[in-house]
Symmetry: C2
Subunit: 278 residues, 2 copies
């Protein structure tokens, strides 16, 4: 049986980069989990002595602190710097961009609109860079714009993981009532690249295995995309969940993985499938 | 019978202003017709000795030249200034705005996209203000954007008379492929104000009279909007076309007028209806 990986799968550029940065700083602590995958966090702990601090207060005086891909609010960064920690910034460059845009545009007199989830760490960080916090607004739906005390000049950015079509709806609503809007398309394609590659592969494969957290919306979406074109699509967290009967009579197995699935788990799955078919 | 004018009708702010400017400059010539209404152009000729030059070459050395609301291309303005004409600028301020935006944004390194009709005098003027003519593009449909060699930074303006919903489609298409777009909503509400006011009045009136050119798309649209709510809606060019039978048994006559219809024609129509009903 042919086994083929999707042309894009698993960790995005920013997460790969953050893990490499952490590995280069043995003994550091990450402020918040570097990735939503316990096995990978455990690997970093065992192999590189990387600790985890869920709160600012949990960070010890002599800790070197890794900032994760989502970034953190500006005032928290200032606290860390004041406390003389060694700060290792692994904020994804695709997140630094909207942080910088919000800071500059707010300073230039634009009202700020951020399309995203107010509770998401990335957005908490991005909005914190507005110079005028009472002139920066986070919205998820166009209707939320109606009651905002926006100026005639508005700058708008998006959470990196949002859908472009939904961002376009926010922009369409804004542009009809404002004299000038500056639209910065800060959406990152990584999520969609994995989805497009999985869909492409599912057309040819007669069995698809998607690897990732059962509760990860990202992984579940990959799975449902594969199911559209390949009825025999399975979602597993690791190789222990494989069932040899899935591959009976099959000739082409496609593999994809969610954005929080490390490569070594993907490789374990591929090895196990190959053993089953020997 | 009650006769009521729509709360907004006829000339827009820019045209009213241009006619006042022309009246203040007796003996001048307008470069292009000031308005698409022969009766009004004749009134200006007879009452104020305002001439009409259709082409640059038709303008005599000693003519004072009125620039109409649409504006003119920058190079033509330079020619007029070089020839030492007295130039009287009646360009609508709502048109000067996109001219200035295009000039500044082009100078600041943005590709320029103009949503409008390439053959419309307003757009010929607006596009001429781009510093880099090979980096300024006029489009009517989102699909036309696909093949344009646009930079990552794009500034976009609209012809003043376009529909906001259609402009939004251009913006939506642009924002999905560009890093930054600056959207300047340069649409003027005047057309829509006349339409909204006519629709409002047509709900209450049992007969509607719309005054304007039979070939004016603006006037025809007003007429069809009125017909939606008032079956007895009539389109006339002036009072000679009125028919007394239209008002038999009617109690409330609403009046609207296209954007090229001068107030004095509207008043003639009202006077004639009142005479018919005496």
């Amino acid at each position: 049986m042919k086994i083929q990986l999707a042309s894009s799968y698993g960790f995005c550029f920013g997460v790969k980069r953050a893990i490499e940065i952490a590995e280069e700083h043995k003994g550091s602590v990450t402020y918040g989990p570097l990735i939503h995958n316990k096995d990978e966090i455990n690997r970093l702990k065992v192999g590189f002595d990387i600790g985890l601090a869920e709160n600012l207060n949990d960070i010890q005086t002599d800790d070197a602190v890794v900032i994760r891909t989502h970034g953190i609010p500006k005032n928290e960064l200032e606290v860390l710097n004041t406390q003389d920690h060694k700060v290792i910034d692994a904020t994804c460059p695709y997140v630094t961009t909207p942080q910088n845009i919000v800071e500059k545009m707010s300073d230039d007199g634009y009202s700020i609109v951020i399309f995203g989830d107010a509770s998401h760490p990335e957005i908490k960080g991005v909005v914190s860079y507005a110079k005028y916090q009472d002139d920066a607004f986070i919205v998820l739906e166009p209707e939320e714009l109606d009651d905002l005390p926006l100026r005639g000049k508005v700058a708008v950015v998006s959470q990196t993981t949002k859908k472009p079509e939904d961002f376009a709806k926010i922009v369409a609503a804004l542009m009809l009532t404002r004299k000038e809007i500056r639209v910065f398309n800060t959406i990152c394609n990584a999520t969609f690249e994995n989805q497009d590659a999985a869909a492409e592969l599912a057309k040819d494969a007669d069995v698809m295995v998607v690897i990732g957290g059962k509760h990860s919306s990202n992984t579940k979406q990959l799975h449902s995309i594969c199911q559209r074109d390949c009825a025999n699509s399975y979602l597993i967290e690791n190789e222990t969940e494989l069932d040899a009967s899935w591959f009976d009579g099959k000739t082409f197995c496609g593999i994809s993985a969610g954005a929080s699935t490390p490569d070594w788990i993907v490789q374990n799955v591929i090895d196990s499938i190959q053993e089953m078919k020997q």
